[in-house]
């Protein structure tokens, strides 16, 4: 265990989450206007479909998988105890990862191609693309060349993450992991720390109440006076 390991796995995560919480809340309060999906479908419609749709479905499945393994590591290990079930889980995760990568590269190519789209691509977008591509590609690499990651995650990453959450960071869990897995983890922290400065904030404002609300919205500017 080196000081670098300490820095990357015991200090960086706290720094990343601190930045994440402070800056998303600050941005929401101080610059509410900047919270937007910043869609570019208006400028280009066809390739939009082939980039954005696989990207979103892929990445949502993968993130949900990570979250489930973090919350229920025991159940994941139990599920994986039968080889067929392990294979099903791994193949689903791999397909989702590939979808995400394909979508990511598709949207990236789409943005590089048109002069109109380059106009609405910021430096932060470019950094974000680099981080995301690395994150998804390293995940796929792990799935292909260091198989059975779902069991690994449940057995090593989950207890490590729980130790972080309990403010008793124990990085000994990560001791024997291959470098690419460590890079995958570090990059995840970078993404979390960078999150508030990117268009990713649209994830935080997904409007679920819409599904339960009445169709018409009326606002009374002058308050209660007008209501009976």
């Amino acid at each position: 265990m080196t000081y670098l390991d300490m820095l990357l796995f015991a200090v960086l995560p706290y720094a990343a989450f601190l930045v994440f919480f402070v800056m998303t809340i600050h941005r929401y309060r101080a610059e509410t206007f900047t919270y937007s999906s910043l869609s570019s479908q208006f400028l280009e419609n066809r390739e939009h479909f082939w980039g954005v749709v696989p990207l979103h479905y892929g990445i949502i499945t993968v993130i949900a998988g990570h979250l489930i393994a973090f919350l229920f590591p025991g159940e994941i290990l139990l599920w994986n105890s039968k080889p067929l079930r392990l294979a099903i889980l791994e193949v689903t995760a791999l397909i989702s990862g590939l979808l995400a990568l394909l979508g990511l590269l598709g949207s990236l190519g789409r943005r590089l191609k048109g002069p109109k789209l380059r106009r609405v691509t910021s430096i932060n977008d470019s950094v974000l693309y680099a981080l995301l591509v690395f994150q998804v590609a390293s995940g796929i690499y792990i799935a292909l060349f260091h198989r059975w990651g779902s069991s690994w995650f449940a057995a090593t990453a989950a207890p490590y993450l729980w130790s972080l959450l309990q403010f008793r960071p124990d990085i000994s869990f990560l001791g024997g992991l291959p470098t690419i897995v460590k890079l995958h983890i570090v990059n995840a922290y970078l993404l979390i720390g960078f999150f508030p400065f990117t268009r990713l904030v649209h994830i935080l404002v997904v409007p679920n109440p819409y599904l339960w609300r009445k169709p018409q919205v009326v606002r009374w500017s002058y308050g209660a006076r007008s209501r009976t």
């Binding site: 900047t34 869609s39 208006f42 954005v52 002069p115 109109k116 819409y210 500017s221």
Partner: protein, 496 residues
């Protein structure tokens, strides 16, 4: 009865000269910013024509508005169910190609070009990418192109016209078109509001103006797909939707909206209508052939004592009720029934009404003389060069009776005035026409007054906003005394 007040509008199409002054007034005030260059909150279209964005009326393509099926009212492509399945990509979303790519010219080249044998030119450059572009479309691209096989012929309202009627619309030297100015209809059952996942779009309770809360909008763009009139626009730079705000800062201070104020033909009228909000859904679900009457029946008589007391109990200020009694819109829409809603079949219950235009007539020709008078005094209404069917597709959900009624009444008023002032028509004939058109002499005079001799104050009867009172009741006026000097007003900044 839930009484609400709604600022409503009438556009008198017979008076529109297609000068686009309204568009320019609006552009200069509201949409000269980056990302809004392509927007025209108010625009003037040539009919027959494809409009802006191109073919916006083609709901097979854009899937906007509501549909009523099996007694249920549902948004056509932006219902809650479809909001989930189309979450990341809405297939019917218009793109910039459906509008046009805004451009400017490289004017500095006119001054900086080195001396040579050619005249320097200012080439067009895109206001999006900043690169040289070939202009392929622009605002009013089909302006005055009635009869054009590229534009006019693709007008969705030509559906159901016979080949003869189509030919008649574009016959050389007899070609005919009229203007169709459009702003947001500030609908009673707005599809854009119902579709907005963020709850950013809303109707103001006090006056019914439909607005986008810029801080709540997240750029999901459901409103763009949902509005069948395509009057919500996406700001490609800020990532927010924007639309006509009916110049509410002007209305609140008693001024007419800029497009109304600047209208050269004085075609625009604005006033308050009271309506029953409890019946909205019931009305919006009615069968197509009942929609025009049903929509009209929503509007309450502001002089009816029962309505007045109900309005008071719903918190509507007496001064607003008084203004509603003076409303020019109520006269056009309810009293005279000569103003009709555009495309009521989209079921958004628009609150901008149009007086359909009396187009040039197809006179019956006998030898060398063209005879305008026949035993059937209204013969030329049905023989107008703009076929009744076309106007009915626009203003009657495909049913001709409403349009015919409005045109007959207008014609009768004209002949009555002609009998009075020119005298080449007998008053007996004129009165017979008024009678057949269902119009009394007093009503004819009133229509004449409000269409021809109307002053500024006749056309715009604006309710007082009573902001002072409302704010006083809302909070202590001295609350911020000695605490806050001035607030921060920051420019809207695009997110990273």
């Amino acid at each position: 009865m839930e009484v609400r007040s709604q600022i409503s509008m009438v556009f008198h199409l017979d008076k529109c000269i297609g000068c686009h002054t309204c568009s320019i007034a609006c552009k200069n005030i509201w949409t000269d910013r980056k990302g809004t260059e392509y927007m025209w909150w108010t625009n003037v279209e040539t009919k027959p024509g494809t409009g802006f964005p191109t073919c916006w009326e083609d709901q097979e393509k854009f899937q906007g508005g509501w549909k009523a099926e099996n007694g249920k009212l549902e948004l056509r492509s932006t219902s809650k169910r479809k909001a989930v399945t189309n979450m990341f990509h809405h297939p019917n979303m218009p793109t910039m190609d459906d509008y046009y790519e805004p451009w400017t010219y490289k004017y500095e080249d006119l001054f900086n070009a080195p001396e040579g044998t050619d005249q320097p030119t200012a080439r067009p450059i895109s206001m999006v990418s900043g690169e040289y572009i070939n202009i392929e479309a622009g605002p009013n691209w089909d302006d005055d192109l009635g009869g054009s096989p590229v534009y006019a012929e693709n007008d969705p309202n030509l559906a159901g016209l016979t080949p003869e009627q189509r030919a008649q619309l574009s016959a050389v030297e007899r070609l005919v078109f009229f203007y169709f100015p459009r702003i947001c209809n500030h609908c009673l059952n707005p599809a854009c509001v119902a579709a907005c996942p963020s709850g950013a779009l809303h109707k103001r309770g006090e006056d019914g103006i439909v607005l986008v809360d810029q801080k709540r909008c997240r750029g999901w763009r459901a409103c763009i797909a949902a509005c069948p009139y395509k009057k919500v626009y996406y700001n490609w730079f800020t990532g927010k939707s924007e639309k006509c705000i009916l110049c509410f800062p002007r209305i609140e201070s008693g001024q007419a909206p800029a497009c109304f104020h600047s209208c050269v033909g004085r075609i625009r009228y604005l006033g308050v209508l009271l309506y029953d909000a409890d019946r909205l859904e019931e009305i919006a679900k009615k069968p197509t052939d009942e929609l025009v009457e049903a929509h009209r029946s929503l509007i309450l008589d502001p002089s009816d004592p029962q309505v007045i007391s109900a309005a008071r109990s719903c918190g509507i200020h007496d001064s607003v009720i008084e203004v509603a009694q003076e409303s020019p819109i109520y006269k056009f829409v309810v009293d005279w029934k000569i103003a009709l809603p555009p495309h009521i079949e989209y079921r958004t219950l628009p609150m901008l009404f149009y007086v359909p235009p009396l187009s040039p007539v197809m006179a019956n020709q006998e030898g060398d003389t063209i005879n305008h008078v026949s035993s059937d005094l209204f013969h030329d209404i049905d023989d107008s060069r703009v076929p009744m069917r076309f106007l009915a597709n626009l203003f009657g959900a495909g049913h001709e009776r409403h349009v015919r009624y409005a045109l007959r009444k207008q014609k009768a008023v004209r002949w009555y005035r002609r009998a009075l002032t020119v005298g080449d028509v007998s008053m007996e004939t004129a009165e017979r026409m008024l009678h057949e058109a269902g119009c009394s002499v007093e009503e004819a005079e009133a229509i004449y007054q409000l269409t021809s001799l109307c002053t500024f104050d006749d056309r715009f009867v604006i309710p007082p906003a009573h902001r002072e009172e409302a704010i006083a009741m809302l909070e202590d006026p001295l609350e911020h005394k000695q605490a806050v000097g001035f607030g921060f007003i920051s420019n809207p900044r695009r997110g990273a």
